[in-house]
């Protein structure tokens, strides 16, 4: 009940509920049972730190499906929404028995100067993130910037002090390839769960393949 109330408050804060109601309630989101998940490209490797200060390398997740989101905690719009939806997805992955074992989620802050480890940890806790399979990552801006660039992400300070950034979430397969890019605004956690299960149904990479993985930001 409390969560529903929080969701309603969130929507009200987003500011368009009256106009939505005026247009009539939107239908259930449509999902596809057979998603086309073409290989979009290699997922650049990176090393960032979790809220405990431990180094987390993306390549450590080879053999697992990874949902990678770029967010920041002071984001007034889609970031809290996507994190809320990832929270729901976390529950779905747990029920499917793959959370933290075969499927993981990573949320990377694009605003590490504001998002200290403490701020990020509180944010993760607020959304019920279970560190067993969902970690929030940060680094200094100098070390974050190449990661953003590698993913064609960027940040731009708007005149009113807001931070603008591309609204995308990346889905990586067990081999470390990007297989889907979601828009934060239209992210659908039910579809994401189907997509993850589709990728998990593919054959896991052999050990030899794992050793010849994508270009690494670690060497830069």
């Amino acid at each position: 009940m409390l969560r529903q109330f929080a969701s309603v408050v969130l929507c009200l804060l987003l500011g368009s509920v009256p106009s939505l109601f005026a247009a009539g309630a939107p239908p259930e989101p449509a999902v596809s049972a057979n998603p086309n998940l073409s290989v979009i490209g290699r997922a650049p490797d990176f090393a960032l730190r979790d809220t405990e200060g431990r180094t987390v390398r993306l390549s450590e997740y080879r053999g697992r499906v990874v949902l990678l989101a770029f967010v920041f905690t002071s984001c007034p719009g889609v970031c809290p929404l996507i994190t809320r939806q990832m929270s729901a997805l976390q529950a779905g992955l747990k029920e499917a028995g793959v959370f933290g074992r075969r499927a993981n989620m990573l949320s990377v802050t694009v605003d590490p100067e504001t998002d200290t480890s403490k701020v990020l940890a509180e944010y993760a806790q607020k959304f019920g993130a279970d560190p067993a399979g969902w970690r929030f990552l940060r680094e200094t801006m100098a070390r974050t910037r190449p990661v953003l660039k590698a993913y064609d992400e960027w940040t731009k300070l708007l005149p009113k002090g807001e931070l603008d950034h591309p609204a995308r979430v990346y889905l990586l397969d067990q081999k470390g390839d990007i297989r889907e890019i979601y828009s934060l605004a239209f992210f659908n956690e039910k579809q994401a769960l189907i997509d993850i299960q589709t990728l998990l149904a593919e054959a896991a990479p052999k050990q030899a393949e794992e050793s010849t993985q994508s270009e690494s930001l670690l060497r830069r």
């Binding site: 500011g15 939107p26 729901a88 992955l93 064609d152 239209f186």
Partner: protein
């Protein structure tokens, strides 16, 4: 999973998603672009125009930067031309990437894509990549409209690699790396997506070989299903329904913008008509003629107001621009016209719905007047249109040589 999803009902999630995608202030926002692009919600300052020399092949195709900032001393002037380094491309449509940092320019004849950086210095776009071998890469030819999806560009391609037969959709990363092609059963002209319904619609025209020959030699018998719209499962990239009309050459299509709006319209150039597509409660689409534009119109472009109240149709042969009142979606009616504008073609409505820019070159093989220009229509709150006497760029007498102006984007 179910317990958690119950705590956060999917309907609530969707409402929030739509709220984020369409905050109240953005119900007044730039129209006729991909919903994945952050729409312009303030007055435009610069326009990018994709154009070719008046005599194709005698000079390079170019991207023009035009000052559209009312407060500027150079308002209404071409600030610069950025040549693309090759001739005979037949500059046609352009599209932003989802993050609005890059502009993709498609070439009808050469199949080439030119990618410009428009973020580093918006007044000085930089050509950063040319994709040359598109037909070989994609198995398709005749690229029409670059359309943004998250992190990628989806291009409607009219025909097979030799310029004949059905085309499809080609998918690239924003940087220009080819991902995949998706076969169509007609000649895709334009793509429009409603993400919340997981549905994509593509309209249809004719194969590349047709427009690369003089119009008198066009052979409609070589066209595949030019009277159809294709409905796709967006996630599957799979055609799930074919909408068939007695009219042909289905050009521009537009979904309505209101969240939850299940309908839209498209124009038939050969049929002189406007058609309405609508997703019914069972998920299937109905398709019916909404109006006749008049026998001599030959609709070339279709645009919409941000409030879903008006459609704008350019009559390429009829030399007029029509405003259609669509307040009653099932009974649309002609609201106003501007007449005497020679061969109007592409249009672009501003974020507030108060101005409409238009150019007047279609394709070099079908243009019938060399009086190339860009003009501006002022739109009143009542939807009435008036040609702005203070804005006209004469491309027939452009200082750097006459040119055919086609598609444009604002920033």
């Amino acid at each position: 999973m179910k317990a958690e999803f119950r705590k956060l009902p999917s309907r609530m999630v969707l409402v929030c998603a739509l709220a984020a995608a369409f905050p109240a202030s953005q119900l007044i926002a730039e129209t006729c672009i991909s919903p994945y692009i952050k729409a312009l919600s303030k007055p435009e300052t610069v326009m990018y125009l994709w154009a070719l020399p008046a005599t194709p092949g005698q000079g390079e195709d170019f991207l023009a930067v035009i000052d559209v900032n009312l407060a500027s001393a150079t308002y209404g002037k071409i600030l610069k031309r950025i040549p693309v380094g090759s001739k005979g491309n037949e500059a046609h449509h352009i599209g932003y990437t989802d993050d609005r940092t890059k502009l993709w320019a498609a070439s009808l004849n050469s199949d080439r894509f030119f990618i410009f950086d428009v973020a580093t210095d918006p007044m000085n776009p930089k050509l950063i990549k040319v994709i040359d071998n598109v037909a070989k890469l994609t198995g398709l030819s005749g690229p029409h409209t670059p359309y943004a999806i998250p992190g990628r560009i989806l291009v409607s391609m009219a025909s097979g690699p030799d310029g004949t037969g059905p085309g499809g959709l080609a998918e690239f990363t924003n940087e220009g790396r080819f991902i995949a092609s998706h076969a169509a059963t007609n000649h895709p002209y334009e793509t429009v997506i409603k993400p919340e319904f997981n549905r994509m619609i593509t309209s249809a025209w004719f194969p590349q070989k047709t427009w690369m020959t003089p119009m008198a030699q066009w052979d409609p018998s070589t066209w595949s299903n030019p009277n159809t719209l294709l409905v796709w499962d967006l996630k599957e990239r799979k055609i799930v329904q074919t909408l068939v009309a007695p009219d042909a050459v289905m050009l521009a299509a537009r979904w309505m913008l209101k969240p939850g709006a299940k309908y839209g319209y498209n124009i038939s150039s050969a049929g002189n008509s406007i058609w309405m597509f609508k997703m019914e409660d069972d998920g299937n689409f109905s398709y019916r003629k909404a109006a006749d534009t008049g026998p001599n119109c030959s609709p070339a472009d279709l645009r919409q107001s941000p409030d879903d109240k008006f459609l704008y149709v350019s009559c390429f042969v009829g030399s007029e621009i029509q405003a259609w009142d669509i307040s009653d979606p099932e009974k649309i009616r002609l609201h106003d016209t501007i007449q005497g504008v020679v061969q109007p073609n592409m249009m672009h409505v501003t974020f507030d719905g108060r101005r409409l820019y238009f150019t007047n070159s279609a394709i070099s093989s079908i243009d019938y007047s060399p009086r190339y220009s860009m003009q501006l229509v002022q739109i009143g709150r009542d939807g009435r249109m008036k040609l702005d006497p203070n804005f006209k760029i004469d491309f027939a007498r452009a200082p750097d040589g006459p040119a055919r102006p086609h598609d444009m984007l604002l920033n």
